[in-house]
Symmetry: none
DNA sequence: AATGAATGAGTGTTCATTCAT
DNA sequence: TATGAATGAACACTCATTCAT
């Protein structure tokens, strides 16, 4: 694929679609899909509203594009290279660190993906949901492996996977880059909690053994 | 058609405000605040749009009313009576069971309270946030007590409280009343996970002791 | 039907729907349905565009209303009282005079009814077409009677009915109230032509007998 | 993909103007000038909207081109060769047959020419109207000749010419190629009616002589 | 001769809200 | 307490047209 893949030509304004995506991402994350008008997006891009329709047939298509490409990027980024994932080779650790890092880097995409699902038309919704389940199943498989090896003790791996993802995904809601906790520290805290939540010998064991 | 047409409630129309609240709750939860019009609410209530303004000065006030009263109801419901909370007297158990039960019973209120925060005007937002922090601080206090007593081992009780609440609050997103898991079973699963996540001797303890 | 049928009250603006109809009639006739905007209608009525929607759910409904009520009024007006129809008791004469008079009085309705058929949605189109056929069948029945009695000589009464109506309906296209020909004179001219076109012994008879 | 991609016509695209005319004709006839967009025409031609402006300076010019060339083609086609006109040498017969045949062959042009007059700018309107009057005057002259010779009895030849043309021009509105009546049969029926409508001794003569 | 991107005005329609009744 | 009619701003989207390439 040598030259064929190049854009037709780096024409003036040929990056408008990308700028529309960026503006819509920012505005949808901030105010919600339904509360953002095409006029606002156009104005943020620095273009007339009608120009948006040269790049996206409807407002809904912008949302769909953002959500689908987020899920695909997320899945494409997995698995992370070993050196990215840090010193630990434990799969659950790798997943937790990966998820936190990725979600703190793409806060707006994440936020939209969780908030605007109901504003997707049924067909796009189904596509996004399928990707989401693919992602969940990565964690689920890790939990199942750990359960088989006896490292984890989990009543329902599907529920546990969702619980863990919910816990991790809540981070960007309150995390502030210049807050008291570094991203690394947060990673450590959550890693510990996640490990504990699926550990083979939790506190309850000792209680129950009383 | 003499009496049959009377409303079940004593004075017809006297409960309109309540019906507005109920309709708005349902519609906001389903479609989002910004995507629901006063006309839709009115139509659901069975009244003309202008009639809504006899009960709420603006659309925004309906949202504020729903969110504030939800937070206040939630805080009023705590602490649950002992017999409601079940056999366990452990405060963390009580909180987890209470949270799951309450949130599964009031799914729409919960959903709105997490989704529509950004659609609140700053002043109302601050009020709701204050209530939310009060609620978080209940759990935070429990975690701190456990940490002092040595029962829990927690790096940051504030982070842990938020992590646990995020994990629990995700349940209504996927829980189906006629699904394979009963509410009781879910309670048990999450209880175990939460206990593990804060347990004094998790899996990592043994690892670290290597 | 003593009091119940009265309008709720002769409120201010309660005649807006009628004024919308009148404005739309005038504007559609002048510029065509597709070329007239709701804003133009509203401005002609002296109201904001959004106010139109209190009276007609869509622009299409205004057109439908105009066309259907025109056809119904036309059919309701038939048959004319004897004294209206003039001295002649011949049914064809009565029809021709009636048609010309009615169509010269309601030029705008007539014009719209012929020009804007294709802008009707299929369902409304079918309704209007049904009324049109009912009207054509009045003339067709007259022609059939005349044919049976031997007064007329007609190859196909359906075709003849349509031909006559087309001929008559073209009048308002060029008729000017202050032109050289009075409505009465036009009536006489067309009456003669129509009679001739269906006469039992036309010119061709003598030609053919050569 | 060497040669297969070439258009059938000698130079690809060289006939675009003609294809624009054909598409616009079809679409204007079907939906009306005002309801057809340049985008629709372009899409029907298989070209981008901006390409249309290489061939016609404005949308209005397409309409003007279609209407003027129709009227000119119609006038150019008159008089028909004798053998085309059929066995009859009577000028009125020749005209009626010619008109019906021509109008059944060019239904779309005819339809547009009658429907879209009001969408022409005044200047083009005047041009088309002049052509129309030239055409009417052909029939008017025939009627005047017949009147002078005593063959016809006509109160107003201008009115009669318009009446006859209106009657004939209505045919394409209901004629269906695969309907029960052949074009030839329709010709005969209308011919008879037209003859009768201007005949020197119509039915009324005998009635009045009673 | 054709394209892709843009414009600025305009489309039908909906919005939250007001107000006399 | 409810209504019907109105407002003025806004909505997503389309329009005919332009222009650099």
């Amino acid at each position: 694929m040598p030259m064929a893949e190049r854009e037709p030509s780096p024409r003036k304004g040929s990056r408008t679609a990308a700028r529309v995506r960026a503006s819509a991402l920012k505005l949808f994350a901030r105010h919600g899909y339904a509360a953002v008008s095409m006029r606002q997006i156009a104005s943020d891009v620095g273009v007339q509203p009608s120009a948006l329709y040269n790049h996206f047939p409807t407002k809904q298509d912008i949302l769909k594009d953002l959500m689908l490409s987020h899920m695909r990027d997320l899945l494409d980024a997995w698995p992370p290279f070993a050196d990215e994932a840090g010193q630990s080779a434990d799969p659950l650790d790798v997943f937790v660190r990966f998820h936190i890092r990725y979600h703190l880097q793409r806060r707006e995409e994440v936020f939209i993906s969780y908030m605007e699902l109901r504003n997707l038309e049924p067909e796009s919704f189904a596509e996004v949901e399928a990707e989401r389940r693919r992602y969940e199943s990565i964690l689920k498989a890790i939990l199942e492996d750990g359960q088989k090896s006896g490292a984890y003790r989990i009543a329902d791996t599907g529920v546990a996977a969702r619980a863990i993802i919910a816990m991790l995904t809540g981070i960007p809601n309150w995390y502030r880059e210049n807050g008291p906790l570094s991203a690394d520290k947060i990673e450590e805290i959550y890693l510990e909690m996640v490990r504990g939540s699926v550990a083979a010998t939790p506190l309850t064991a000792s209680i129950e053994s009383d």
